[in-house]
């Protein structure tokens, strides 16, 4: 039975077309996956279905729901549908809740708005909805900031399903969450479809999730529906070239040549702990201190490619900052090529570089690429080559990372995310360091671009004989690009060893849960 049918839906914002002529049907109890890379228009499609497009947008086409065209019904009537018949869950649980209202109040709002129950029943209904989404132990009088990200997402889901809507639109509901939390939330969503017969429109960029839980998939690219069908069939046939490209990027292993490691230690981290002082302090008492990194030791040998896996808040960023000398360790020491590292030692700084996660925040938007890339030369001090030579090196480096040498005169906003990450790599390489730290360097990138960047990293490090520490929350990335790896949890290293071994045969329970939770393409595809 078709619950919702969309015909020729087009949306433009400020005269700029965002989605063009999208048509699809949603049947009862189905999980429809809407997928595509960033900018493909999947979120806008969802908002169009909800009638919540941003200011200045125009939509055309027909959205048929229960015999009515949602594009035509009045705003007050649409309000009666939202939350009751069609509800939505958003990507960012951290900001999706009103910070100054208790969660119970926010959940009950859906009930009150649609006059679903008598006031004296409200409490029970809220409790029931919270129990349903797995918040059995949480008091409804809590405020959002007192909950973890996963718990908040459950609150948002509770608000969305407490009136048992026909359709639940979930817009990247797990992207902002840790992998272990992600699988639990996905299970919950799946349950709604199976047990309660709620039709789900799941928006995600992750093809593995699509393959695992959806009944039907729609693949969008630049506002156009390019491929659709049952996931099993779509992924097996890979008839559309774009589908094929995406699929191989998500699943393919980067070619990775194993090298012989020398015994020589490049970086030696010994028993390093880092304490943070909490800001909550009294007038007379100092704040209690929180241990972000606890007794961590690690070595990186010359030519070694080491991975560090951990979920958010595990202390990996603090560790990076400590290694980079931006943060001082409370105890332990760090040696580079056998010499203890102090914060200001330039001999060390010129041999280490870093690539950060956010391609948008990594560059000063007011400087030209040429200046941005040559910034690391500053570490060389008087040894730095003259400016003209720096420019030549910069141009060469840009070519190495696959950009034209004219880019040197451009500003950073003229580049896409992937290109920016290439520039970041060029910047890291420009002074030929011995060690590079990649801090979640590909996490913000779309899957097809991610595989390109990973390949570039792999190629370049091989060519320059670099060692690196690759930090990521994503096991599949680590698997593809490191030979050894460490697993970190709550500031401690819980497991270490060869990446292959760890992934195949984890010793630690936490590592195991990480591996199990990571979405993988189901076996039916490999058959």
């Amino acid at each position: 039975m078709t619950l919702l049918s969309v015909k020729n839906l087009s949306v433009s914002i400020h005269e700029q077309p965002i989605i063009k002529n999208v048509s699809f049907n949603l049947r009862a109890g189905e999980i429809l996956a809407l997928t595509g890379e960033s900018g493909s228009g999947k979120s806008i499609s969802a908002l169009a279905l909800m009638g919540l497009l941003p200011h200045g947008s125009k939509k055309e086409g027909i959205i048929n729901f229960e015999g009515k065209d949602l594009n035509k019904i009045s705003e007050p009537n649409f309000c009666k549908l939202r939350g009751k018949k069609i509800s939505m869950v958003f990507q960012e649980p951290m900001t999706a809740l009103n910070p100054v209202q208790s969660i119970g109040k926010q959940i009950s709002e859906t009930l009150i708005q649609h006059k679903a129950c008598a006031p004296n029943e409200l409490k029970n209904r809220v409790r029931k909805a919270m129990d349903r989404v797995g918040l059995r132990d949480i008091n409804p009088s809590r405020f959002p900031h007192q909950l973890s990200g996963g718990q908040r997402q459950r609150v948002v889901i509770a608000m969305a399903i407490c009136l048992e809507p026909s359709i639940l639109i979930a817009d990247e509901p797990t992207t902002a969450l840790d992998v272990t939390t992600q699988s639990k939330i996905l299970n919950l969503i799946q349950e709604f479809a199976e047990k309660d017969g709620i039709s789900i429109i799941l928006i995600t960029h992750d093809l593995a999730i699509v393959a695992n839980i959806s009944n039907y998939l729609l693949l969008m690219r630049e506002g156009i529906l390019v491929d659709q069908g049952q996931p099993k069939k779509v992924f097996r046939d890979l008839s559309h070239p774009y589908t094929k490209k995406l699929f191989s990027a998500s699943s393919k292993q980067v070619s990775f040549r194993e090298t012989n490691l020398s015994k020589e230690k490049l970086l030696e981290v010994r028993a390093v702990s880092v304490n943070y002082r909490s800001h909550e302090r009294g007038i007379f008492s100092k704040g209690k201190s929180v241990e972000a990194v606890s007794n961590v030791s690690l070595d990186i040998r010359k030519g070694e490619r080491l991975g560090l896996v951990g979920e958010s808040g595990c202390g990996k960023s603090t560790l990076t900052r400590t290694i980079l000398g931006l943060q001082s360790a409370s105890s332990g020491y760090i040696k580079f090529e056998g010499q203890e590292v102090s914060k200001y030692a330039n001999s060390f700084k010129k041999n280490i570089q870093v690539v950060f996660q956010d391609p948008y925040g990594s560059f000063n938007p007011r400087q030209k690429i040429g200046r941005l890339i040559t910034e690391p030369f500053f570490t060389l001090g008087r040894e730095a080559p003259p400016e003209t030579e720096q420019k030549i090196i910069a141009q060469k480096m840009l070519k190495e990372v696959g950009l034209s040498s004219e880019s040197i005169e451009k500003y950073i906003h003229e580049f896409s995310g992937g290109q920016r990450q290439r520039i970041a790599i060029a910047r890291a390489l420009v002074i030929k360091p011995k060690l590079i730290i990649f801090d979640e360097a590909v996490s913000a990138l779309d899957v097809s671009i991610r595989s390109q960047i990973l390949k570039l990293i792999s190629d370049l490090t091989e060519r320059y004989g670099l060692s690196y520490l690759f930090i990521s929350h994503d096991l599949t990335v680590i698997e593809n690009i490191t030979e050894n790896c460490l697993v970190m949890k709550n500031g401690k290293i819980v497991e270490r060893g060869q990446t292959k071994h760890i992934l195949r045969d984890p010793k630690n329970e936490y590592t195991l849960s990480l591996i199990n939770a990571a979405p993988k393409f189901p076996n039916f595809l490999h058959a």
């Binding site: 309000c79 969305a160 800001h279 909550e280 929180v290």
Partner: protein, 330 residues
């Protein structure tokens, strides 16, 4: 900062702790302010005794008066006497008026405080609805009208506006008196009537500023994710504004209202001059020209105290409005 530590006890302890920390800086600021004020006033050239006795006075007469006023004491002991007096609520005796400063300030506050509150009320009553309206209608004609009006409102000097108000409503139409204050003992309505024109003159630019801040705070809040969440629950856009956006948007607005209050209390000097109101501003202005040092010091200190107190209250009020602040540090 860990997300799940917020038991009620902990929160309570934190709040008390926070309160005392703020109190500490509050007192420190006051102490610093008192030193600054005292030094500023002391280095001002001009002697209260010579001022009072005029051009025919003899040197011994001036010396006698200086002794009578205590001006022959060393600066440090005068400062300490002033501070310890203030702490016990005794602001000293005015050099020129020869009356208790506490009483004098008290009398003036009966004009300045109602005037400030009246102007603040007017400005809030005008600004909040227009700001909310403009935010709700952003990009449309209504928004344009409000924005244009506020732009002009900000640009008009309030004393200039005051002169025009007097010209129209006091001299031409004779609806209101041109100034002065009839006193509360002649009836509350009388008092309010004599404060109406000054309050309007003071409120206009304040309302324009507040309206703009209300608008932009609300627009910013309306862009938050939780607004979309609320809309997805089925709330209409007006319901969303009332139930979710307004309370969050009110936080910056509250700050500005706090600042405006202290500004209105102290900044009405020119308006008080135009309407010859016996308010605090005119008192301090007059005291400066007459070198009535003790009055200047005490009133300025009182005004600074008011501002710091309002900030303190606003800070504490934040904590009550925003549950996050009860735990996180600021």
């Amino acid at each position: 900062m860990s997300p799940i530590c917020g038991g009620h006890n902990l929160t309570g302890i934190f709040m008390i702790n926070y309160f005392f920390r703020r109190l500490f800086t509050f007192v420190l600021s006051l102490a610093l302010a008192s030193i600054v004020i005292f030094s500023l006033v002391e280095i001002a050239p001009g002697d209260p005794a010579s001022f009072m006795l005029g051009i025919n006075a003899q040197a011994d007469t001036i010396a006698a008066l200086r002794a009578e006023l205590g001006l022959d004491q060393p600066k440090i002991s005068r400062y300490l006497a002033w501070i310890s007096g203030m702490l016990t609520g005794d602001f000293g005796i005015s050099y020129t008026y020869r009356t208790n400063v506490t009483e004098m300030v008290g009398d003036r506050l009966w004009v300045s405080l109602p005037l400030a509150l009246y102007a603040l009320l007017l400005s809030t009553v005008i600004a909040l609805p227009t700001g909310i309206y403009a935010a709700a209608k952003r990009g449309k004609a209504g928004d344009f009208t409000v924005i244009s009006a506020t732009q002009i409102g900000i640009a008009i000097p309030n004393f200039w506006f005051a002169i025009i108000l007097v010209g129209i409503f006091a001299i031409k139409l004779q609806w209101f008196s041109a100034g002065g204050f009839s006193g509360w003992q002649n009836g509350v309505l009388n008092g309010i009537a004599s404060l109406t024109l000054p309050a309007i003159a003071l409120a206009l630019p304040q309302a324009a500023i507040l309206s703009r801040i209300m608008r932009s705070a609300l627009i910013e809040t309306l862009g938050e994710d939780y607004i979309r969440t609320a809309r997805a629950k089925g709330l209409s856009s007006w319901q969303t504004i009332w139930a979710h956006a307004l309370r969050n948007a009110l936080i910056p607005v509250l700050t500005i209202i706090g600042l405006q209050f202290s500004f209105l209390l102290a900044g009405a000097i020119i308006i008080e001059q135009v309407f010859y109101l016996p308010g605090l501003g005119r008192l301090v202005f007059q005291a400066i020209t007459q070198r009535d040092l003790i009055v200047v010091e005490s009133v300025v200190m009182l005004l600074v105290f008011a501002v710091i107190l309002v900030n303190f209250i606003v800070d504490i009020a934040y904590m009550l409005v925003d549950p996050r602040l009860r735990q996180d540090s600021i």
